[in-house]
């Protein structure tokens, strides 16, 4: 296995979720990171998955799943849109507390 190296296609990383908060994490080779760019990349899916499974202690990581990626320069990018969104978050943003832009100003009677 080579960390973020320029190797052939059908590269994989392992994605999963933290049990306690559900946050998406990636297997780095020794632990789990929220940052995809720290993920361990390999063309050997079975070996990668087995290493990831072995690193899971006390079942605090759940839903292990291989994800196909490409490496462009030094950046790891999932090939499928679903996984891109999973890595980067929703493509839309609900601005929550500061979304009140309405005013009385243009009301005249």
């Amino acid at each position: 296995m080579t960390k973020a190296a320029n190797i052939n296609n059908a590269l994989r990383v392992i994605a999963a979720n933290n049990l306690s908060d559900g946050v998406v994490v990636y297997f780095t080779g020794t632990k789990w990171s929220k940052n995809l760019q720290f993920a361990l990349v390999s063309a050997d899916e079975a070996e990668l998955l087995s290493a990831a499974q072995n690193s899971v202690s006390g079942e605090n990581i759940i839903g292990l799943e291989p994800v196909t990626v490409e490496i462009q320069g030094k950046t790891i990018t999932p090939t499928a849109m679903r996984e891109k969104i999973r890595a980067l978050g929703p493509t839309i943003n609900f601005s929550g507390s500061d979304n009140r832009t309405g005013t009385y100003s243009n009301v005249s009677i």
Binding site: D21, G22, M81, I85, R86, G102, T103, Y104
Partner: protein, 550 residues
């Protein structure tokens, strides 16, 4: 509205304590993920694309200002400051931590709310007309019946492990605002020739992978037999519904495969047996108790000095637009039901911030006797607004960005969370809705186009009901990229129809242009005051197809 008694409080208390224990045991490793998953689903907790999601039940879409304040508090304390109203009249939160969920459930229980039966193969939250109890055209308020069904079905041991989920909708009006023909069971409250109340019972409707318009199984069921008849249908389904194939497990497939006649014979036989055994219908005294919770309010009205409605309507164009689109006839003179659109131009359908929820709760207390409704079209409703208060309410709503005058118009789009949140999605829904909304942001253009229901689902599960959109959009996966099928001619009301696919799909850059083409074509060929759906029914698919694929 219904208020919990000591027994209701007790079962909720026990349930949240039980789930707290299950979460603790899961975190401590005493329960495996496999063991825990069905338990969390029974409490409305899903694991989605980025995080856990909890879906909170809003029985038949009725809630009060205190409950809305609690939704706001939960969003702020445990989530990211907003909630999302769904097409099942529920609210869901997209970012809770599993370890916080027992606390969230305690908070909900303190205001008589929960997340039970919002997931899993059980009888789900009963949905109804958002104008129930106040609609001018209704025969009777359907909410007491929905409450009776809720109490009967909650934790019903026989129906806790159905072949698949089971959805019931009920309307009290002829004009169907609850899409009853697209539910596992649809009920219409009506009167027979002698004026007695009862139900038309429809069975086997549904959307998803196999859209089906439900069939009438009983033209008239006397009111008192509601529960025994539902029990008979559920029993036949429970016994004969397919458990071997998830995609064929809904009652619609059973009804389709056996035929409505044969299904009816089995149900009637079972029903007779239930009656002989000492049937399960609700005793009159218990029924009366539930009905007492739904007595019309006193309509005592004591608010700010009225602003001049006529002057506002005449001189304030935006107010006029809002009145023309968001106001609904009320059974009490001088009152109106008001839709509060959760579809701001370019916004996310169904989303609302904590601050907006709190402000809205205050406004509900002032202008709507403290009551709010959620709609299956992802909007909210104030059901008891005095007409004198409309200008003041509009000004207040406008100041918190909740006065979009678009109910039933092109930008009042139903969109599911899609690939931005949902782990099952094939494509994004929300950005498509936002693009359409921005494109048709001109209110004059929207008014010219008139009534138009656009519904966008991110996958075949059809949570946004795309099959019954006048214009429906379905996200599909095309080798890892998003693609969209376009459907036309669907209709969810009493003239139920399933939309037809126009032809080859469109990619994300093309789909909004395709919808524009459809709308332009409609504007070119419509006759008189025809709505989009009328024009489609008159001319069919061809002119739209020609315009899309020439």
């Amino acid at each position: 509205m219904y208020q919990y008694d000591a027994y209701d409080h007790k079962i909720l208390e026990q349930r949240t304590a039980e789930f707290r224990d299950q979460v603790t045991r899961r975190i401590n490793g005493k329960l495996s993920e496999e063991e825990f998953r069905p338990l969390r689903l029974m409490n409305g907790v899903y694991l989605q694309l980025h995080a856990y999601m909890i879906r909170v039940a809003i029985p038949y879409g009725t809630f009060n200002s205190g409950q809305l304040r609690k939704f706001a508090h939960i969003a702020r304390k445990y989530d990211r400051g907003y909630g999302h109203f769904t097409t099942r009249q529920n609210i869901q939160y997209n970012w809770p931590k599993l370890i916080d969920i027992p606390d969230i459930l305690d908070e909900l229980a303190s205001v008589e709310m929960h997340a039970i039966q919002t997931s899993g193969n059980c009888i789900r939250n009963i949905t109804t007309d958002q104008f129930a109890g106040v609609a001018k055209d209704e025969v009777a308020d359907p909410r007491p019946y929905a409450e009776i069904i809720r109490q009967w079905s909650t934790f019903h041991p026989e129906f806790a492990y159905l072949p698949r989920k089971f959805k019931i909708a009920i309307t009290g009006a002829k004009h169907d605002r609850a899409a009853i023909k697209f539910h596992d069971i649809g009920l219409e409250v009506l009167r027979n020739e002698t004026g007695e109340l009862g139900f038309k019972v429809i069975v086997g409707g549904g959307l998803g992978r196999t859209p089906v318009i439900g069939s009438v199984i009983k033209e008239y069921l006397p009111e008192k037999h509601l529960l025994s008849y539902l029990e008979a249908i559920l029993r036949i389904y429970n016994l004969s519904g397919r458990r071997d194939n998830k995609y064929k497990a809904r009652v619609k497939i059973l009804v389709k495969e056996s035929g409505i006649e044969s299904f009816r014979v089995k149900v009637e036989k079972e029903w007779r047996q239930i009656m002989e055994e000492g049937h399960t219908d609700l005793p009159a005294a218990a029924q009366k108790l539930i009905f007492n919770h739904f007595k019309p309010p006193s309509y005592e009205h004591n608010v700010l000095p009225a602003l001049d409605f006529e002057r506002f309507y005449k001189y304030q164009a935006e107010f006029k637009r809002w009145i023309d689109s968001n106001l609904h006839d009320h059974k009490v003179e001088n009152y109106a039901a008001v839709t509060i659109s959760l579809k701001p131009i370019g916004g996310i359908p169904g989303d609302i911030s904590s601050e907006q929820m709190e402000d809205l709760a205050d406004l509900a207390d002032i202008y709507s006797l403290g009551e709010i409704r959620s709609t299956h079209e992802q909007n909210l409703v104030f059901p008891y607004v005095h007409k004198n208060d409309l200008p003041a309410l509009w000004l207040e709503l406008k100041s918190i960005d909740l006065a979009t005058p678009n109910h039933g118009l092109v930008s009042d789009i139903i969109a599911c969370p899609g690939m931005d949140y949902c782990s099952l999605a094939n494509a994004r829904s929300i950005p498509i809705a936002q693009e359409i909304s921005n494109k048709f942001s001109d209110p004059k253009l929207a008014a010219q186009i008139g009534e138009l229901k656009i519904k966008i689902s991110g996958c075949i599960n059809a949570c946004a009901h795309h099959h019954v959109g006048h214009i429906g959009v379905l996200g599909v996966d095309k080798k890892g990229t998003e693609s969209y099928q376009l459907l036309l001619g669907g209709n969810a009301d009493e003239n139920a129809a399933i939309g037809k696919i126009t032809g080859p799909g469109f990619n994300g850059d093309q789909i909004v242009g395709a919808i524009e083409t459809v709308i332009r074509t409609y504007q070119e060929i419509k006759e008189g005051n025809e709505r989009f759906i009328d024009t489609y029914q008159r001319v069919g698919m061809e002119p739209f197809k020609d315009a899309l694929y020439d």
